[in-house]
Symmetry: none
Subunit: 222 residues, 4 copies
């Protein structure tokens, strides 16, 4: 791989970082690898991004913004629940498929922190708590944990709201909307992460979304 030398250094770093993080995961990615690919000095990365963790966060946070906007726009442009769900998943499947490597890092290096966990109050607001003795987990760790969770939650909440509304309007069976939404959301995400669908070779994102939603609404039983 070769990054266009005419691009500004900040952009070159972003491209290189995405490549390296995607290839190696967060921990095994090295700044040295990133600067070699970006062909910039080490200080340049720190000037623009401050630290390895901030570099990664900026990368995914910046990507997340238009993605969430697209999810929101997709559900807004449709009228009925089924069409909203299909539009939502068409956008989601495409994004997760294209950013599989990066989003797996978010899910499993940044969030797979076994000494933190989230609890949700009755309004589904998350709080980070220590699983073990409090002093094992610094405030900084908790903040980081929450920060990455917010990314996923921003995507997830759009779906959850659809399901909450669907339950309210009795289009969906009553139940725990968060659990229903999470089964659906994470089942799809994991399928993509683990290359279950092999989307690219067979069917379009749109068709994939239709199957997902059909099964969600109507089940698999004959």
């Amino acid at each position: 791989m070769q990054i266009d030398a005419k691009l500004p250094k900040e952009k070159r770093i972003e491209i290189a970082a995405e490549e390296i993080f995607s290839k190696f995961g967060y921990e095994k990615a090295t700044l040295d690898g990133i600067i070699a690919l970006a062909d910039v000095g080490k200080g340049t990365v720190y000037k623009y991004f401050g630290s390895k963790e901030q570099l990664f966060y900026k990368l995914v946070a910046v990507k997340n913004v238009p993605f969430v906007e697209a999810l929101q726009a997709a559900v807004e442009k449709e009228k009925d629940l089924q069409a909203k769900l299909i539009a939502y998943f068409a956008v989601l499947v495409e994004f997760y498929h294209k950013n599989s490597a990066l989003w797996q890092i978010v899910y499993f290096e940044m969030l797979n922190n076994s000494y933190c966990r989230l609890i949700f109050d009755e309004d589904d607001n998350p709080t980070v708590v220590s699983r073990y003795s409090e002093d094992l987990v610094s405030e900084e760790t908790k903040e980081r944990y929450l920060r990455y969770h917010q990314l996923i939650i921003s995507e997830f909440d759009i779906l959850k709201k659809l399901i909450v509304d669907g339950m309210a309007s009795q289009e969906l069976k009553a139940g725990n909307a968060r659990v229903s939404a999470s089964h659906l959301f994470f089942g799809v995400a994991m399928g993509i992460f683990h290359h279950i669908h092999q989307v690219e070779t067979t069917i379009s994102y749109e068709e994939m979304a239709k199957i997902i939603v059909d099964r969600f609404l109507n089940g698999e039983a004959m």
Copy 2:
């Protein structure tokens, strides 16, 4: 925590390793932490287990055997599809809940290796291929990747077979069984990993399984 000093050293190491890996994840777990808890010498770990990675693998592989047997036994003891599915998920939810930390490591530290991926042939047999240039990925890496996948697949295939059979017997709608199974399987797994269900505080594993299967079969639509 204190490990019974009368246990044989190999057992003490296993107990300590489970504790430490669960608490810290694979990368952040240190051999020093493990030997301190097991109260054995560092060489002893290498004598019995060969390396950090093999220690971890043995830990999860050993746990996986009775788990898969229990899944198999559960589906065999029931007659009809729905009962089999419920029995399967009652076992699975309990196991994943109790071994959440360890299994997350399998899913996301050992499998989140973005320069490998699996492809499945028409009989759903997996092969590891490099995502990028071949020479980036050693045979050893591929073997390791496949090894951890086999663990998950051994659990997953029991479910997939139920669904394949269900489709064959027209109890389930025709479709891609692997995709249907994976949505279901991974959706449940992720829900547990990310503490969506907060199982412990509300309902039994059995009841949880019933809800999962009901939604799978009949969907969420009214």
Copy 3:
């Protein structure tokens, strides 16, 4: 310089560290320099000493103990004030002369921390306070600052007590004992640090001590 390879590694590290810190000062001394001279691995230093700062502290703290004991013994073995003072300074001049490089680091790299300062309550107990906004100085910094001060204070207090007692017994003029003691103590220390006395080439430590004490007691005026 060559360190006896038969010595235990911990001892070799201590010898090398004293050499390197003395030669280069705390900041400019590098672990790489120390391990090269000690001919040990980098991990070995961390195993025995934990960090660069702890290595340095242990070095000076260990040296300080017999030194303070010697100062104490010297004043105890004499009866009258003048003899006590002479005995004290004979020991002090020798030690400071022989450990000039190391003790300068204590005085001026570890204590010359301009955003901390000590204040003394009426019983002359020291407290570390920030000179500027509190949040500039971590608790850890303050503890370190105090830790090194304690070393010097342990030496200084023996002298101060002599002077306090001397004032009480009216052998010395009334006045601020701490100020008098500090002029005397630090004047001598600085003279040695800055090689003013060139002790080695002219007179013995004993004779030097006599001059110091004579001038202190009787002044320079005819």
Copy 4:
């Protein structure tokens, strides 16, 4: 802190540098901190001052000139030895108190270079010699070492001359004038650096000087 934007850039840099060096010491002070406070470009500092070290040197050298002149003027305006000494220390105590942070850097970051030391010939002229093998110390290092020493010597020599003269005129006991002067000079300096006197809260610089000189001349004995 805010520096008057109407001042010329060179002046702004000096003010900022004094602030930053005083607060952080030489090593921990950063050019970035200085230019941020001075609100100038980084190149500007290099244009006017050449390097960090030259910036610091110019700062203290410029301050030292009027200080030495004031010391000289103080001793010249008085007739007898005691009055000269008091005048000298009144000026010195005030200056060292006000510039404590900066002068500590001179004493202990710039002079605490253990591979150099000064020797004095019979006329008390200093030469820099290596303590260890000659080739460890560059000529540049030696020059720098001497340069900072000259600052202190220019202050010190005025006192030394008073004492030499006092010994010659038999107002003072015969002895090594340099040693006597250095005890007095450095004892006072250190007392101020280490906040022993807590000058500000109790007595004036003049009164402080009187006590210092009284003790020097007459000693502490009753």
